[in-house]
């Protein structure tokens, strides 16, 4: 077959070059193409990485060095004190405590509600199941701002924004204990678990409840870990809602609004080092989580793009 294909090439009229020279030139072009691709990718990667690099080295510079007209690409004198200043300015302990409490409880809540709903949608037959699921998915199309305003009215009128730290925690946790996207993600996973397993458990006299927690949940562990990580990162990164309910009271801040509000005034340039140290402190935990759980995160994020 291969030979016949080559012979066919030879017969081509009007071609002044032999098959061999054509093969060599196509190989050369392939290598040139590959070099260009690598060069462009490296250039793009450089642009992607640069802000991280700049954040880290600026966080270690003194105000005098930052202030120079010709920026240095590596700090001449490393100033670690920027970090202690940043921690103090952020009131890092408070931010971490608030973020962890809110993050852990809203994540646990989301996991429980998602597991229950995904089980109902994937293994139970009931009237209106498909319509209900479509309605759920439909809510993802509606911009969150439509809900945020009314939810803010609700939590304010319930007095949650004016009854101390507990109220703020509740206001930050309860509305975020449900997520249609994660229900969708988990339902897809549950559906892959064969119905035969479910029916066999029924024959053995196991109820739905035991089957769900003893069989389904362990089998779906990777998806649950994905949800756990993405949800915790979401709490760490959330800005709008925590900032609304905190109403400018420092002790109610979470990580991200705490960071922004600590460096809001056009402060003098000496502060850039401290400011960048603070952003490093907020960013590095996220990067560490990403490095350790890369697979889970990319799988969960990528899932959204697959149609159907």
């Amino acid at each position: 077959m291969e030979d016949g294909y080559r012979d066919l090439q030879l017969v081509l009229r009007g071609s002044s070059r032999s098959v061999k020279s054509k093969e060599i030139s196509s190989k050369v072009w392939k290598i040139i193409g590959l070099i260009v691709v690598y060069a462009l990718l490296a250039f793009a990667a450089l642009i992607v990485i640069f802000p991280f690099y700049w954040m880290i080295i600026t966080s270690l510079k003194s105000g005098e060095e930052i202030n120079r007209l010709v920026p240095t690409f590596f700090p001449e004198v490393i100033r670690w004190s920027n970090y202690s200043d940043a921690m103090a300015k952020l009131d890092f302990g408070t931010l971490l405590r608030n973020t962890l409490i809110v993050g852990i409880f809203s994540t646990l809540g989301t996991l429980i509600t998602s597991i229950l709903a995904a089980f109902a949608f994937s293994k139970l037959n009931f009237k209106g199941r498909d319509m209900m699921f479509s309605i759920f998915l439909g809510t993802m199309m509606i911009p969150g701002e439509m809900m945020v305003i009314s939810n803010y009215i609700s939590v304010s009128r319930l007095g949650l924004t004016s009854s101390g730290l507990t109220g703020i925690y509740i206001a930050n946790i309860i509305p975020f204990m449900v997520s249609v996207f994660y229900i969708y993600l988990l339902r897809q996973n549950f559906k892959q678990i064969p119905d035969a397993l479910y029916l066999a458990a029924k024959v053995d006299g196991k109820g739905d409840w035991t089957f769900l927690w003893k069989v389904m949940v362990p089998l779906a562990a990777p998806t649950l870990i994905t949800i756990l990580i993405l949800k915790l990162m979401g709490a760490w990164n959330s800005y709008v809602w925590p900032n609304l309910v905190a109403q400018n009271q420092k002790e109610y801040y979470m990580m991200t609004n705490g960071l922004r509000n600590s460096f809001n005034v056009a402060s003098d340039i000496d502060q850039y080092g401290v400011q960048m140290a603070a952003t490093v402190v907020v960013t590095v935990p996220l990067l560490l989580v990403f490095i350790f759980f890369r697979k889970y995160i990319m799988k969960g994020v990528g899932r959204a793009g697959i149609k159907g």
């Binding site: 990718l41 992607v48 109902a120 009237k127 509606i142 009215i153 309860i174 960013t283 990528g302």
Partner: protein, 315 residues
């Protein structure tokens, strides 16, 4: 079995349904409702009856005109800002991420390393990295001015110690768009790479037999076969761009920037920015009217995109 499962299923769904009813379904209806209330007091829940004035005040100069009115803030500042951000960042970020994804898909060595690097912006905090970009774009000491030899050019804030704003609106828009695109690449690259890996190798073998040049194969085979992913990212990034807020806060601070008025809008406040600003001012009814307006714009554009794409997307 069916009837037996009915009540049980609803029991499993109960927590989700209750939470969604309270925090999703009710708020949607309530936002529409409040947008038609006059002088709404959200703490007491009282109002002076129904009115269209909220919409007229926010969207038209009929009731009040001139500088400082809400019409100016929304139709002359927030809406143009939002539209420009969308028009600039959506196509550019899709094209760049498509090119990077195609590049990544054609290499073997270092693929994983590049993939990890390109995903980094996704896991970072929009506010934190926005603050880093504001340092990079600083007029006096920023590395951007140093590299591109544009000393003391003001991108997002006036140079230190300069009286009054000297920031050209378009410079600020450039810096913001640069940052938004930088931050939005990873998600799209991931989606496109997923799509590319699912393309049947047969198509490329066929193209090779026809001796089609590589760029032509990319244009005539890869892009059409990726059209579902392109449509998906188009719609999601369009909605995302229309709701841009965190990037503005990260880059310009919570005042939204202050620009030279002769060059364009005087701040980078977006539609969502306006909405949250009104909540802060206890003017919830205006926030609701603006949110409904934003919702309608997004819906209309999404429907148009679906309609147009019906003829062009290959499933």
């Amino acid at each position: 079995m069916e009837s037996k499962n009915n009540w049980k299923a609803w029991l499993y769904l109960a927590p989700v349904i209750i939470l969604l009813a309270v925090f999703t379904f009710f708020p949607i209806i309530n936002t529409f409702y409040v947008s038609f209330l006059k002088n709404y007091d959200y703490m007491r829940g009282t109002s002076d009856g129904f009115t269209f004035d909220n919409y007229l005040l926010v969207l038209t100069p009929v009731l009040k005109s001139g500088p400082g009115t809400m019409f100016e803030e929304v139709m002359m500042t927030a809406l143009p800002n939002t539209m420009l951000i969308t028009i600039i960042t959506v196509p550019l970020s899709i094209i760049i991420s498509l090119l990077i994804a195609i590049g990544l898909n054609s290499i073997k060595a270092l693929k994983k390393v590049f993939q990890t690097i390109f995903f980094l912006p996704y896991v970072t905090n929009a506010i934190a990295v926005g603050m880093v970009f504001s340092v990079i774009f600083d007029a006096n000491t920023g590395i951007f001015n140093a590299i591109f030899n544009t000393p003391l050019h003001t991108w997002i804030a006036p140079a230190f110690g300069v009286q009054g704003s000297t920031v050209n609106y378009w410079s600020a828009l450039f810096a913001l768009s640069f940052y938004i695109i930088w931050h939005s690449l990873p998600y799209k690259i991931l989606i496109f790479l997923g799509g590319l890996q699912n393309i049947d190798k047969q198509y490329y073998e066929a193209a090779q037999i026809d001796a089609a040049p590589k760029w032509k194969t990319t244009l005539k085979v890869t892009v059409p076969l990726l059209s579902p992913q392109i449509l998906y990212t188009l719609i999601t990034s369009f909605i995302g761009a229309f709701k841009e807020y965190n990037s503005v806060i990260g880059l310009f601070g919570s005042e939204g920037g202050k620009f030279d008025k002769t060059t364009g809008p005087s701040s980078m406040k977006t539609m969502v920015y306006f909405i949250y600003e009104q909540i802060g001012k206890n003017q919830v009814q205006y926030a609701c009217a603006a949110a409904v307006f934003l919702f309608l714009i997004i819906m209309v554009f999404t429907v148009i995109q679906f309609r147009v794409s019906k003829k062009r997307v290959h499933y």
